[in-house]
Symmetry: C2
Subunit: 309 residues, 2 copies
């Protein structure tokens, strides 16, 4: 299903707006996520009937650290921080042991002032309930190809689902991932690799990003920089998946800003075969995949109960 | 220190023997591993003096499964297998608890007939003693960039050490890894990525291997196929690291065979800037890195003891 229009040679970094080729097919995350949610609803209904009212359950632990204010009272600050960390760990242990909960995600504050040891917190979540897929154990399994025995982080899992929607097969393709974060780039690399793509990971230290991008049959961008990937870099007919969520000033909006991705959409959709919009692309799929992982966790829980029972 | 001789255009897949450029500098694993062993010897001596005769200690658990023969007695077979697995796990637990041992590696039989669940065995080793770096937890940390908090598998760690010997910096280079195994390719990708190379992983499903190889400033091959990488594929001046150990028939030898790598050495050394020989390249470094990990484990043990004491 890849666009077969020949790449106009010699155009280099300019986009081919005005040429006769059609613009990219939009991959709608809104539509795709709706399909996923409908499928999950059916699966949950089945479980409910088969296992007497059983329901998959997810706990979202939102960590809010008490602000000590701007007094330079380091003793009070440290004791508050330690107390908060202990409470978080205690809550996690309690959910780990709760047999009626199948998924647990911990939302840490993003501020560095009250920085809790996020590794410690992430790895305190039982791997069997780590539906965010961010613990070392789940990351280790994914990175080494044990995809059926782990939880896959929701954003890359959603991206793969969107790629599948296009009908373009991943195996044998050259995929380029921009970014190597724990929640997007690194697991995206793993997921594409173990679906048998040849994968190149680019990042802030990559000196020739436009050339690397130009070789991508499948491009996934999780760079965190507004519209950094220009349309002229994109390979003709490529699948372009944009994980970026960036706010840029926009005087025409009441809010004074609007959301853009990491890809310059208006030029990239002139070259790509398929492209995700921002918003309405990867975002809704991430949420749907969290639900999917929770349902999967519940199914595994039922399987374990049966084999032990 | 990369060779700066211009790439002879138009030679394509043929090697450039006979042209005026010099052949590649050989990266000696024998010499490099000797330096590592000497450094480790000094560190161990220091520990011994500082901590009253303390010595790093490594246990190698060699698993030999009793052969039931070729009788089709599946009950006996299963019970033997289960008994063997239980004994292995028991031995691992015992070494995990032994405070005088700092490293534990388990060597599993390679035959598929007596296949023990190797994941179960690998992950039974305490992450703090897993000097092979093969457990999920260590793989997870390495793959997500927590390099100072894990054990790095010995072969890729040795490869990186050999690359460092050349004086060529990894950051910003395009590295290509052939293979995605748990002990070579996958952790090699991680190690190069987190040393800030742009990394492409190729494998059996990569359709254009010669082209991918041709873009590598640094090439690490762990494919397990004798001399599959041809000299003509190699980028002029590249660093070529060959992890292959393959036996090929050789009538001129008393043994009737000889060892070759995954790279066709005689042609690749005409284009590479630096190249590892086989034997005498990666092999000796792997052994040295196992010693390094064991010494590192002992040092971490001492640090933990001090902070708890």
């Amino acid at each position: 299903m890849l666009s077969v229009v020949a790449r106009p040679l010699g155009l280099g970094a300019s986009c081919c707006r005005g040429s006769r080729r059609a613009i990219a097919t939009v991959i709608s995350g809104n539509k795709a996520s709706k399909l996923v949610r409908e499928r999950l609803k059916e699966e949950v209904e089945k479980m409910k009937v088969q296992f007497c009212g059983f329901r998959p359950s997810l706990v979202v632990l939102q960590v809010c650290v008490f602000q000590v204010g701007d007094r330079d009272d380091s003793n009070l600050y440290i004791s508050t921080k330690l107390k908060a960390a202990a409470e978080v760990l205690h809550s996690i242990m309690s959910v780990n042991e709760n047999q009626t909960v199948h998924g647990l995600i911990v939302q840490l504050p993003l501020d560095t002032v009250n920085h809790i040891n996020s590794e410690l917190v992430t790895n305190a979540v039982s791997p069997e309930k780590d539906v965010d897929g961010l613990s070392c154990i789940n990351a280790g399994k994914l990175s080494r190809g044990d995809l059926n025995d782990c939880f896959i982080p929701c954003t890359p899992n959603g991206c793969l689902e969107l790629i599948r929607q296009t009908g373009v097969s991943v195996a044998g393709k050259h995929a380029v991932v921009i970014g190597r974060s724990k929640i997007v780039g690194a697991p995206m690399h793993d997921l594409l690799l173990w679906n048998h793509a040849t994968v190149t990971t680019c990042h802030s230290k990559t000196p020739d990003l436009p050339e690397q991008v130009g070789r991508a049959d499948i491009l996934v961008v999780g760079a965190g920089r507004a519209e950094m990937v220009r349309g002229g870099w994109v390979k003709e007919g490529a699948v372009v998946i944009d994980c970026g969520i960036n706010y840029v000033p926009d005087e025409t909006r009441a809010s004074g800003k609007r959301v853009v991705g990491d890809v310059h959409y208006a030029s990239a959709n002139q070259r790509a075969g398929f492209i995700t919009p921002v918003p309405g692309g990867v975002g809704p799929m991430t949420v749907a995949m969290l639900m999917e992982n929770t349902v999967q966790s519940a199914q595994r829980f039922l399987l374990r109960s049966q084999s032990h029972g």
